[in-house]
């Protein structure tokens, strides 16, 4: 990066994000296919990828629509699921605080898990990069185009095979979520939180507006945090004893 220009930084950001783009392809296709097989119109799916641009909350919204959830539950769930972006933004803030407001808005709107991971690595290697915001835009913009293109392919694919719905395509969503959750269950508090949330979501599935989902999520979080604190205290007590 001896002769970095805005364009070369933009390209480098996009290039370094390619592995993340590949990883997002199956999710984007599954999302597009599920929209086409469900009650929403094809263009709703593209609009959601263009305007919301948040894979997990888009898939979760489809699950909630299928469960006849109310608007408020869908919006609240989106909020809870996307709260993690605030943590990402807080971590990246020192590197963007000097930029003009329109740059900060642009980069914030395009911020995803993947770009956060790429930018964390970039700022670690180049803490003083003057063109870091172009690199950021390359990574985030690349993810955006990638997500929207593969959404469209999923939408068109499922629209071309209308019988696909009767095959039980909604199970693809369950399989996708399982594949996301299982690798995260690395300790007892997270496992307990997941089991409590799952069991209560089933028991409370009759609550109006699908509120049982939110209540079960909160209960799972409380159990997980209680166990994590109990563990931390237990570990400290053991250290004191030795």
């Amino acid at each position: 990066m001896s002769e970095a220009t805005p364009l070369s930084s933009l390209a480098a950001g996009a290039r370094d994000t390619v592995p993340m783009m590949v990883g997002a392809v199956p999710l984007a296709i599954i999302f597009g296919a599920l929209v086409a097989a469900g009650p929403m119109a094809i263009w709703h799916g593209q609009l959601m990828s263009a305007a919301v641009f948040a894979g997990s909350s888009q898939l979760i919204a489809l699950g909630l629509v299928a469960g006849h959830a109310g608007l408020l539950v869908i919006w609240l769930t989106t909020f809870i699921v996307n709260l993690r972006h605030m943590l990402y933004a807080a971590n990246l803030l020192p590197h963007v605080a000097h930029l003009p407001a329109r740059w900060r808005w642009l980069l914030a709107v395009l911020l995803t898990d993947e770009t956060f991971a790429v930018m964390t690595g970039f700022y670690y290697r180049h803490p003083q990069a003057p063109l870091g915001h172009w690199y950021f835009l390359g990574s985030a913009g690349g993810m955006y185009l990638n997500w929207n293109c593969w959404t469209l392919i999923g939408l068109l694919f499922a629209a071309a095979f209308p019988g696909i719905q009767s095959l039980g395509l909604d199970f693809a969503m369950a399989a996708t979520f399982i594949a996301i959750v299982v690798p995260l269950l690395v300790n007892l508090p997270r496992l307990a939180a997941a089991l409590v949330a799952g069991a209560l979501a089933f028991l409370w599935r009759g609550l109006p507006y699908n509120l049982g989902l939110l209540a079960a999520t909160l209960a799972g979080i409380v159990v997980g945090m209680a166990l994590a604190r109990h563990r931390a205290r237990g570990g400290a007590a053991q250290e004191d004893a030795t």
Partner: protein, 107 residues
């Protein structure tokens, strides 16, 4: 349901979570308790969606039986993912188990 309104609200909420810190700067502080709670969000939300879909796929009562292809394939997915930690392999394997069970074993 008005899907455009739903999408507009989701977009507004998502942009708020992404842009608040970048736009307002250091004026936002994070209590450590919230930070810890966020760590549990992915596993709880996704489990809360998946479990009812799998154990009661028709929205009625429990279907804990080998005749429930969603349940059989979900168990396959959990085992595959725990053993391989590979996302795409888990999804493909679970879909094969689902279709195989539905059309091969049950029909």
């Amino acid at each position: 349901m008005n899907y455009v309104l739903m999408i507009a609200g989701m977009a507004a909420v998502t942009i708020a979570t992404r842009a608040t810190i970048f736009v307002l700067g250091d004026r936002v502080v994070f209590p450590p308790l919230l930070r810890q709670a966020l760590d549990f969000v992915p596993v709880t939300v996704l489990s809360a969606i998946v479990v009812p879909l799998v154990v009661a796929p028709h929205g009625a009562g429990l279907e804990i039986t080998w005749r429930n292809p969603q349940l059989v394939a979900a168990i396959v997915a959990v085992v595959l993912c725990a053993l391989t930690r590979h996302q795409l392999l888990t999804i493909v394997g679970a879909m094969l188990a689902f279709f195989g069970w539905q059309f091969g074993v049950l029909s």
